[in-house]
Point group: C2
Chain length 195, copies 2
């Protein structure tokens, strides 16, 4: 990453710190993690700094890790949810009002950025892509390739159901949320393995 400009920051931290954190957590500094960093930064700058926000990722690729590293939201604490519609987009929103912003990578803004476009739309096989040029373009493009829109989350989605009663599944004998029905979803075939 010789081309990295040392003055670039992601959410206020020097990019080298972010890269180190990404390598520790994600395993490698993937292009989607660099772009994801800019996406989280762009979303946060367009939210009031004092609000408590929840988040949604529209893909499971890379973006959930950028959100988890750069915000208080994680999968396990429930502040990040993934709704995998396969779009490269994140939403951050006030956890009480549901008002917030959605940021996505906009393919219509990629005409001057050939490597990003090829990578995003999978226009050429991976071995023909240049990682160095891709990262360099991403760094130079920054937030200019991102679309942003105000959103408002549906009220029903905001309602948290804490403490739903627990049942014991008559099939496997394990504990599960009773609201799932008469048997747990595992015993209805939801898992790719049997115990």
């Amino acid at each position: 990453m010789d081309t990295l400009k040392s003055d670039v920051t992601i959410c206020g931290r020097p990019i080298d710190d972010y890269i180190k954190q990404v390598v520790d957590f994600h395993g490698s500094f993937a292009p989607g993690m660099l772009l994801g960093g800019f996406m989280v930064e762009h979303a946060r700058r367009n939210l009031s700094p004092e609000i408590l926000f929840d988040s949604i990722c529209e893909t499971s690729h890379c973006l959930p890790d950028a959100v988890q590293l750069l915000t208080p939201c994680s999968i396990g604490n429930g502040w990040l949810k993934i709704i995998d519609v396969g779009r490269f987009a994140i939403a951050l929103y006030d956890k009480h009002s549901g008002n917030g912003v959605r940021v996505h990578l906009d393919h219509r803004r990629l005409e001057s950025w050939g490597e990003i476009k090829s990578w995003f739309l999978r226009l050429k096989p991976k071995h023909e892509q240049s990682r160095e040029r891709l990262m360099d373009e991403m760094l130079r493009a920054g937030v200019s390739v991102l679309g942003i829109a105000r959103i408002s989350i549906q009220k029903e989605f905001l309602e948290h159901r804490h403490g739903a009663p627990i049942a014991l599944c008559p099939a496997c004998g394990e504990a599960y949320p009773s609201e799932h029905g008469a048997r747990c979803r595992a015993c209805l075939g939801a898992l790719p393995y049997k115990v």
Copy 2:
């Protein structure tokens, strides 16, 4: 956490280091993160140390964060998947053969551990639970409350589809995986917001 024994380790690291990491990432040292730490440790000890493993969490509560902090698996790198059947269980398995282990909290092993049982089966309201007693019981119980079983992941689940073609959705104009169909899932109503 006065009752914490300083000699307890989680996946080879001193528990205080794990607690710090959890607070940074998850926001607080929740009971599920302590138990989740023991679960990951128990699973890893029962896998050959040299294998490359993927993972599944059977709930989105806490366990995904324990897996992400204590293994190379994350949501964004694709090595962790959540299949939310609402059971407090994790599976770690060889990413090539699909052979591995599943660890779950076994309610049948909780007869001597009243606070863990109350917490897990939601037998009393949260304000009547004692967090200190709960954590103390978890520390003393360790892996003795966990069930473990060998599993084998279905072959179809192991097959990765890299580089599926990208389409532009005729409704929203955004890029999405063409295998999802003629429109992206967001335009079919999968999200709790509209742009």
